[in-house]
Symmetry: C2
Subunit: 460 residues, 2 copies
């Protein structure tokens, strides 16, 4: 290993290899503090060419690589094992904005740029890069790509996969695949970038991307309304899409228990309570007053328990803050067993109703806090006990997960919608995912990375 | 081979195996009449299970399979070679609409359904399936997927890849990969469907798909305007997107030579001539008069040589017919060397200007007819001579292609935007495509189809 590190220092410079525990600490514990790795070292290469040489060197020495972005994975996807033999490769030195093309509406940048840097670069050019996440100040484009990140704007703009036109990837043998052309149509062969999006660094190391930009909306119309059930919310979603098309840019739901959590920690933010709250936002390139009027007119013809339409940007920000404060309020409220699940939108009512009944039957007094991106069929579904301190909650984690995932898969859903699999859910993946699909994924892994050196110990 | 055909007859029934030349003729000549194949037989399986058994039998006998949809490939992608040893597998007996879910906005159907049948099923459910092609009465969903088809609605709704949520595929070893869940978010592993979309049947045989549906637009506003150059057209495209967002559903351009072709064959359809004609369409779920007014208002603030806004559906159909008649008018006008190219939208002016100059320099008197989907950077770029009969035109095909593709690739473009590669462009692909990308595609082919039995003789 000493020879390896010496050669690595020759490639990327000794200052860019971290081995002291004080230096590597920010890279070895995952975001949710469930996984503590012990790496051989942390390497901070400074260019795509250096990444390629580094990968070749690792292959020659059979050193495993754990690619890492902003280290904000919620499932331990970027944390090494405890063997002291895996090399973390962090791309924070690769953060250049390479090109902005406002006629083609594309942004080409290094994978180590943060999501916020990408948003700011777009904004400076008068454009919008729409991906938006709570961790955007820290998470990096390479990580967003590797988990196929989602967020609150997927309904209108799609996930990271749909926002990506091209990638530059260092393959497991050190070759550089460079496809950063920014074309919206290309049928010359397989769309290779798709292999690396959502692969959690197990098939290659993404070093740059060409992303889609959009016009900045000139106007927003934002409302928070109370409805009597998730069935009504889904009916509204479809009616809004029919009326407003892609001007409907957000459709978020918050259940009663989640409202109570918010009420405990942010009483002044809560406008009112209802069985379900729905946050609706329209965005447009035209006149703001017209857009607001059309939303008010649409809402006036609906039954709702209560409702508020933002009259200005301050009120709009306040409604969004309510949505954004959910995670932190939940954290303050105590531990919970978290799920990031999705089903076809049409199956959301069955999921919400049947799964709660099944959990309550096996675990009386259980509490479900559900909220999320109903427009994508995606709920964050968190389970805890109502009893003080949630004692022994995690003893029941496996049994709770099995009930939740059984319901999700019976309804054609998925156990990971936007947070990935990583280490946290890899056993569940093996249990629920179609065996033909899993076998095919392993064939692809074998073809690209026969030595198994790219992010081992995760789900592939 | 006799044993093979007997066993095949046992699997799918003797009535569903065609061997007589009169019966196989509709399957052996490609759409543009450039490739005449001589197959072992044409097999017409009746279910996914039969397809899977058929594939296993072919593997056991090492018989190559040529999957075929509606046989409308423009590049010979679905035509067998002349050896008499390849089996055409046509899916026209698999045309069931399996499920329409209007809450989830998804359509699940067999791959042998025609595009028109998919459109009609969506319409009957009050929804829109937006893919739209000249061949929609014949082409099949499986073929649309295998070529990642485009068309006039890509600007708003994306290509077939973006319209697809799930696939069912028979793999080269006969296993069935079934992922028809209709989820909009799923991060459980690799997105395997992406491998088969645009693969021209070389990695597996698509038997069913789950596709996205959309609200039917309640209103359209459609205009044909004349502008002074392609630069102006691109500036308009960006301004329209900023103002109208995804309500801009079409932005098609027609150059001066293409207008003259139309004038010769459809003089009554032509409203006026200009250096470039632009066909603009907005679509919305709201009021038609408002939408029309906003387009008229937007156009009134622009410089244009001439313009007409459709006042009713009849006038709208007339403007669209002009666009739709281009291909047939060109055919009547005589042969041409056809290109289906795309570049970043920002590079369209350079492509149009520089490539014409280079062609004229080498081939004085050459005529370029250009039209297409400027909103996607995609032009249909057809080259012929002005001299009578276009004598010897195809003697110059290779030299013309090299000039065109040199320009396209210098500008970061592609030699196949929406028509695929097939047999027609496979040598050009080898010449222009990044060798790392080509090698990686072949690694994937080797991993999935080591015997090379899926659609051999094409580009993989």
């Amino acid at each position: 290993m000493h020879t390896f590190l010496q050669q690595l220092a020759g490639l990327i410079g000794p200052a860019h290899i971290l081995t002291e525990p004080a230096d590597t600490a920010p890279y070895t514990l995952d975001w949710r503090r469930r996984y503590q790795g012990a790496p051989l070292a942390v390497a901070l290469p400074g260019s795509t060419a250096e990444v390629a040489e580094l990968v070749k060197l690792c292959r020659a020495h059979q050193v495993a690589i754990v690619p890492q972005g902003g280290n904000t994975s919620t499932c331990g996807a970027a944390t090494p094992d405890g063997s002291g033999r895996q090399l973390i490769v962090a791309l924070r030195r690769l953060r250049q904005i390479r090109q902005i093309d406002t006629d083609n509406d594309t942004l080409t940048l290094d994978a180590g740029a943060t999501l916020q840097e990408a948003q700011q670069a777009a904004e400076a050019a008068g454009r919008l890069f729409p991906l938006s996440l709570a961790s955007q100040g820290s998470c990096q484009i390479g990580g967003n790509l590797s988990t196929n990140a989602g967020g609150v704007a997927v309904l209108r703009y799609g996930t990271m996969r749909e926002l990506t036109l091209g990638l530059e990837v260092v393959l497991p043998d050190g070759r550089i695949l460079s496809q950063l052309s920014g074309l919206r149509k290309d049928t010359t062969g397989l769309d290779l970038k798709q292999l690396f999006i959502g692969a959690e660094g197990q098939l290659g190391l993404i070093t740059a991307a060409t992303l889609k930009l959009f016009p900045q909306p000139a106007a927003h119309a934002t409302a928070m309304v109370g409805v009597d059930g998730i069935e009504t919310a889904i009916a509204w979603l479809n009616a809004l899409r029919a009326r407003f098309g892609d001007r409907l840019t957000a459709f978020e739901v918050i259940d009663r228990n989640c409202q109570q959590v918010l009420l405990r920690h942010h009483p002044k933010l809560m406008p009112f309570s209802a069985p379900w709250l729905v946050l609706i936002e329209l965005s447009d390139g035209g006149d703001a007053a017209l857009l607001n009027d059309s939303l008010v007119e649409w809402l006036s013809r609906r039954d709702m328990s209560d409702g508020v339409v933002a009259q200005n940007e301050t009120e709009r920000r306040k409604l969004w803050r309510l949505r954004e404060e959910i995670s932190e309020s939940q954290r303050l409220d105590g531990p919970s067993i978290k799920h990031d699940i999705a089903v076809p939108t049409s199956a959301l009512p069955a999921l919400v109703n049947d799964c709660a009944a099944a959990l309550e039957a096996d675990f009386p007094g259980i509490r479900i806090v559900a909220f999320g991106h109903a427009g994508d069929g995606n709920l964050h579904y968190n389970v805890s006990y109502t009893r003080p301190g949630n004692v022994d909650l995690f003893d029941d984690e496996a049994a709770v997960n099995a009930i939740v995932y059984d319901h999700v898969y019976r309804l054609g859903g998925t156990l990971a919608a936007e947070h990935g699999v990583g280490q946290l859910k890899k056993d569940w993946l093996a249990r629920y995912k179609d065996p033909v699909a899993l076998a095919l994924m392993r064939q692809l892994k074998q073809a690209l990375d026969p030595d198994g050196l790219m992010n081992p110990g995760k789900w592939l």
